[in-house]
């Protein structure tokens, strides 16, 4: 956190000053470790084992916050008889279909609650790979269907039968106990390479610091998400925090530290293939032929997702305005349909296959920033046209000229047919707009100056591109062009460059009703009387005022600071904050007072807006057939969930299991200690000759490597490597190795090392440091190599791109790549140049037995 979010870390320092205990868990000793009370070095990719160990500790010692657990979680819910756990199936859950390499999730549902899991589409590609499901591929139709629950819960058909004593053998609590029983401290030590005593120390620390009087917070970044078990890593933390009563309470939570100014906004208002704004799914060609089928899974269910039709219709009204009417399903048919995975790595596959013709890159540098950079570059070299919008000449704009493949002879500039448009982009200082930060705060930033010369904002680019296309298609009679012609696209423009008004766009996202700007999402209607371009942002323009521009100084308001900017939804700062009070609406303790039921006012009170219906009393009991929010009782804080509960066990929503299970990374130096199942059984392999996976426990690729950031640089470097003041602070790519590994491989401090994987080989200067430590895993020493991934060939501070080493191996729920744990070899000296480089990589593959003889 100190490393990549230094200013956020001030609050950790502040907490430390006030007596908080800080524990840092990471493969490498970082700036955060330097200030933490305790640093626990773990093997990359073993987080579920560690968190599972903590869960097991809580359950074994009955250190859970029992009143919270029984009231607010699904601990007592009874599961179906046919559910079988990984305990029974050696690492698989019930429902696994070895032929398709996927799960039928029906058996994971609650007993006596209808299973409403979505129907599946048809298969698209099936191709064997050198690793992954032994059955040889699996369908990819469920790609990323899970992400749509980002702001809510997955769909279950209703509230389950509950055993409040938690004794029923099939209740979640008992299942949980059995599932995590084998995550003993000894097992954790063996898998993660941590010390048992230290692990127990941490376990005691977090349990003693949780309960009525205290809360513990977990903070994570892509060290948890960029794994083939990424979603389950977060699930593990959710289970732990729910057991300890640390959700919805001040000082608790699982806090994602996201790495880009508006990466939260980029999922809320998604430029993601599977989502529409506000986590509404993109329609599926087979499951969602019309709007009724589109909303069927959620409409009428309990919780706020039950209003999905209102959110969807309001979006369609925002897109197609008066053309969207009840008679034409609000132009639902204008939406294109999905038939599986259309994610970024699929895009690259299409490009390589010649199916992808045109590509827009807006402030993104996949040539350096995405896994397996070579495939990215080869894909771009196979395009007809490419538009790159950036402030500086990033590698993705110049790959045709000076990319690594030009040197190796794999590409030849004069044979690359890609037409490239490079358009200079405006900076944040040169445009109005909102960023949504990592805590869901929409913060308006004002334009200070006009962008220089031909630099323009992306708002300008897309608005005018749309305007020009609409002009060119104005007279078309092809029905294909109707969605474009009918699109609401009249934004006021201003200034010398006819910049569209960002304020007008924000207002459209917030939404309008018959009486003007809407003040919140509960006002949205399914009858077409309201419009809102992003329902979770509804109210950011309440009263016609840009709430995101609110700037009440923190010193002049409560510590929750609601007068600064605007948080979605409804300016609520802590989600599920109803859980900060007990079922009767009283604070769990004075010390942790946050939200409480004010009997006199007959409403919820506290420094924050309630993430609950403000006037629903704690003792409210819903009518038997009530739906949406009306179906939630006054003591059910998890208002997006169909049962109002926090899920210790996920009866729906995840494709790879209702409970987190330790699987090794796809590339691992060791076999799975806990189960026969080595890796996530349904991880999404990526078949390509340039994307071979390493064998497990390989002598050829014996070391673990992990990628990470340094404080001085930013992501793929486009905003830092080109700046003198930042470049001089970390002027060159380096790898970090322990003295022991340096000795083993003859690496010299500040000398060169070549790091080799089956995808590529890169070179880096060597930093020998005690901050990287060899770990003892399954009785042997495992060395880890640390690789900051900021570098590329352009700019002031240059070096090879660490991401070139990575395989594309995707997490099945959200399609994120496994960047944080893979294997490699490291050897002294610089890498070969020219054709000798791919030859070296091939030699390694041959030695590892993963090179096809014909290639």
């Amino acid at each position: 956190m100190a490393e990549a979010h230094p200013v956020g870390f001030q609050w950790v320092v502040e907490a430390k000053r006030r007596g908080a205990r800080i524990v840092h868990i990471d493969p490498r000793f970082t700036r955060t470790s330097a200030l933490a009370h305790e640093f626990m070095s773990v093997r990359a990719g073993t987080d579920i084992a560690l968190l599972g160990g903590l869960i097991n500790y809580v359950l074994t010692h009955e250190r859970d916050f029992r009143d919270y657990v029984t009231a607010y979680t699904n601990a007592g819910a009874i599961l179906r008889e046919e559910f079988a756990d990984t305990e029974d199936l050696d690492g698989l859950f019930s429902g696994f279909d070895p032929d398709t390499g996927s799960y039928d999730v029906a058996s994971w549902a609650y007993e006596n609650v209808p299973d409403v899991s979505p129907a599946v589409g048809k298969e698209r590609w099936v191709e064997p790979t050198n690793r992954g499901p032994s059955v040889g591929g699996r369908r990819d139709d469920e790609a990323a269907t899970v992400e749509q629950f980002g702001s809510g819960g997955a769909t279950v058909g209703g509230k389950p039968k509950v055993d409040p004593t938690l004794q029923h053998p099939r209740c979640v609590y008992q299942v949980l106990k059995r599932h995590f029983a084998r995550y003993t401290p000894a097992a954790v030590a063996e898998i993660c390479g941590v010390d048992i005593e230290q692990f127990l120390d941490v376990a005691r620390a977090i349990t003693e610091n949780s309960g009525r009087e205290r809360t513990t917070a977990w903070v994570y970044s892509v060290g948890w998400t960029q794994h083939t078990v990424g979603a389950q890593n977060i699930r593990s933390a959710s289970i732990l925090q729910l057991l300890l009563g640390n959700i919805g309470r001040p000082g608790g939570g699982i806090l994602a530290l996201r790495g880009h100014a508006s990466i939260q906004g980029s999922t809320d208002v998604p430029t993601l293939f599977n989502l529409l704004p506000g986590y509404l799914p993109m329609p599926d060609a087979h499951r969602h032929p019309d709007i009724d089928s589109y909303v069927r899974a959620d409409e009428g269910r309990i919780g706020f997702w039950g209003n999905i039709r209102a959110y969807a219709v309001s979006l369609l009204k925002a897109y197609w305005g008066d053309h969207a009417t009840a008679a034409n399903d609000f132009r639902y048919d204008h939406l294109p349909r999905l038939t599986g995975d259309h994610g970024t790595y699929q895009t690259v596959r299409d490009q390589l296959a010649g199916r992808g013709k045109g590509y827009f890159l807006a402030g993104e540098n996949p040539a350096v920033g995405s896994a397996n950079g070579k495939l990215q570059r080869l894909g771009m070299a196979n395009l007809e046209w490419l538009v790159v919008r950036d402030m500086r000449l990033i590698e993705s704009a110049t790959f045709w000229k000076d990319g690594p493949e030009i040197d190796t002879g794999e590409l030849d500039t004069e044979r690359i047919g890609t037409e490239v448009f490079f358009l200079p982009a405006a900076s944040h200082a040169e445009k109005d707009g909102t960023f949504t930060n990592t805590q869901r705060l929409l913060q308006w930033h004002e334009k200070a100056v006009e962008p220089p010369e031909e630099a323009r904002s992306d708002l300008w680019f897309y608005y005018h591109l749309g305007r020009i296309i609409r002009e060119k298609l104005a007279d078309s009679t092809d029905p294909r062009d109707l969605p474009v012609q009918e699109l609401t696209w009249s934004y006021p423009t201003e200034g010398p460059h006819a910049e569209p008004s960002a304020q007008a766009v924000l207002a459209e996202m917030s939404g309008f009703g018959p009486d003007g700007p809407l003040s919140g999402y509960p006002q949205l209607r399914a009858d077409g009387s309201t419009s809102s371009g992003c329902w979770i942002y509804c109210g950011v323009y309440a009263d016609g005022h840009n709430q995101a521009a609110n700037r009440q100084p923190y010193s002049e308001q409560s510590w929750v600071a609601p007068g600064w900017a605007w948080a979605w939804p409804d300016n609520r700062r802590i989600l599920y904050n109803r859980a900060s009070a007990d079922p009767q609406g009283r604070p769990w303790s004075e010390r942790k007072r946050y939200l409480w039921w004010d009997e006199e006012q007959r409403r919820w009170a506290g420094p924050d807006r309630p993430d609950f219906e403000a006037e629903k009393p704690p003792d409210f009991q819903p009518e038997p057939n009530a739906t949406a929010q009306d179906g939630l009782a006054g003591d059910e804080p998890f208002i997006m969930q169909a049962d109002g509960k926090g899920w210790l066990f996920a009866p729906a929503g995840l494709l790879d299991g209702p409970l987190p299970t330790h699987y090794e990374p796809v590339e691992s130096p060791v076999p799975n200690s806990l189960y026969g199942q080595q890796e996530n059984p349904i991880f999404r392999p990526y078949q390509h000759a340039g994307n071979r996976y390493h064998p497990i426990d390989s002598d050829v690729y014996p070391y673990v490597f992990t990628t990470y950031r340094l404080t001085e640089h930013h992501t793929a470097g486009g905003m830092s490597r080109m700046l003198p003041y930042l470049s001089e602070l970390q002027p060159e790519f380096f790898c970090e190795v322990s003295p022991a590994l340096a000795r083993e491989r003859g690496l010299r401090h500040l000398g060169w090392a070549t790091i080799v994987s089956a995808r590529s080989a890169i070179e880096a200067r060597v930093m020998v440091t005690d901050r990287i430590r060899p770990l003892r895993v399954r009785g042997r020493v495992v060395h880890q190599v640390g690789l900051p991934y900021h570098w590329g060939t352009n700019g002031l501070s240059i070096g090879d791109a660490a991401n070139d080493l990575l395989p594309i191996a995707l997490e099945p729920n959200v399609d994120i790549q496994e960047s944080k744990a893979a294997t490699c070899d490291i050897r002294p000296g610089r890498r070969p140049r020219g054709r000798a480089l791919p030859e070296l990589v091939r030699t390694y593959r041959r030695r590892a037995g993963i090179e096809r003889s014909d290639s």
């Binding site: 003295p739 340096a742 010299r748 401090h749 500040l750 930093m767 020998v768 440091t769 005690d770």
Partner: protein
């Protein structure tokens, strides 16, 4: 440290330095500018005083030579100083203020009038005009002369450079002695035998003082004395001993031989140069290794 001067592995910091980097900065002056400035100023100062004394004593040749040497030396010294400035055009800013805390300020206030007076005097001597003014100027320059030959020692000593600061008791003696032998050296080269006795005596006194003080530099400054014994400074100061010794010996025989006198004079001048370059080099060496900063200070604090 490896051959490239870089640690072989991230050095685990011991208790004595930050990656072996210097603590105080190496003097920012250029060589040969500043050593020359020191040398020339010293020669000029003693020469001016020598001229001022010689004149009433009727040693006209000595007076004339001293006057001209003072003028030439001080102007050249000034030139070297200006050349060394980062912003030579701003030399006059030296006279913006008079700072008793700054030997360079004090020195500038000495050097500027000295070089003007010496030049006036020399002009008068060479042209034969304005004799009274010239004589007066020469007399005042002669009074400033001893200061000219010693302030530069304070200039070096008044720094955090260990080899210089810790030598503040010895350096003025070294510089004064060296200035005397050098000034004498000029006279030995330029003048006939009849003027050689006083300058030989001057050289002998100067040589004795310098060598005695220099010996103290090499032995009495604790660990810092190392910087005067080894490396470039050690060699140069060794050369000083040899050259000065040679000068004394040659002077003794030079009572009859002009060539021997010239060689002696040359040896003295060379010794004078070596002194300034050697002291300068010792200063530089003492900044490069942080131990010369740390160890004496630790001892002072009573730590080991």
């Amino acid at each position: 440290m490896s051959a490239e001067g870089r640690p072989d592995r991230t050095p685990v910091t011991t208790n004595d330095s930050y990656y072996g980097l210097p603590i105080v900065k190496e003097p920012a002056w250029q060589q040969p500018d500043v050593p020359l400035y020191l040398f020339l100023g010293g020669v000029a100062g003693v020469s001016a005083s020598m001229a001022a004394l010689a004149r009433p004593l009727g040693r006209d040749a000595l007076a004339k030579l001293g006057t001209v040497t003072a003028a030439t030396g001080s102007v050249a010294s000034l030139g070297a100083l200006i050349h060394d400035l980062g912003r030579p055009a701003r030399f006059l800013y030296m006279l913006r203020v008079f700072k008793p805390t700054s030997p360079l300020s004090v020195g500038s206030w000495i050097l500027a009038p000295f070089s003007a007076l010496a030049s006036m005097s020399a002009t008068s001597v060479l042209t034969g005009k304005f004799r009274t003014v010239g004589a007066l100027a020469g007399a005042v320059a002669g009074i400033l002369g001893p200061a000219m030959s010693t302030y530069t020692a304070v200039l070096l000593a008044d720094t955090a450079t260990p080899a210089w600061h810790e030598a503040y008791r010895e350096l003025p003696v070294v510089f004064a002695g060296s200035a005397m032998t050098s000034a004498a050296g000029v006279a030995l080269i330029a003048l006939p035998k009849r003027d050689s006795a006083p300058v030989s005596r001057l050289a002998a006194v100067g040589a004795t003082a310098e060598l005695a003080a220099a010996h103290r530099l090499r032995t009495r400054l604790g660990i810092i004395s190392e910087t005067y014994r080894v490396g470039r400074a050690g060699s140069l100061l060794k050369a000083v001993e040899v050259l000065t010794g040679a000068g004394v010996a040659l002077t003794a025989t030079g009572r009859t031989s002009r060539i021997a006198r010239a060689l002696a004079g040359g040896a003295y001048l060379a010794a004078g140069l070596c002194t300034r370059f050697g002291v300068y080099a010792a200063g530089v060496a003492s900044t490069r290794d942080p131990k010369y900063v740390v160890e004496p200070q630790r001892e002072r604090r009573g730590r080991v």
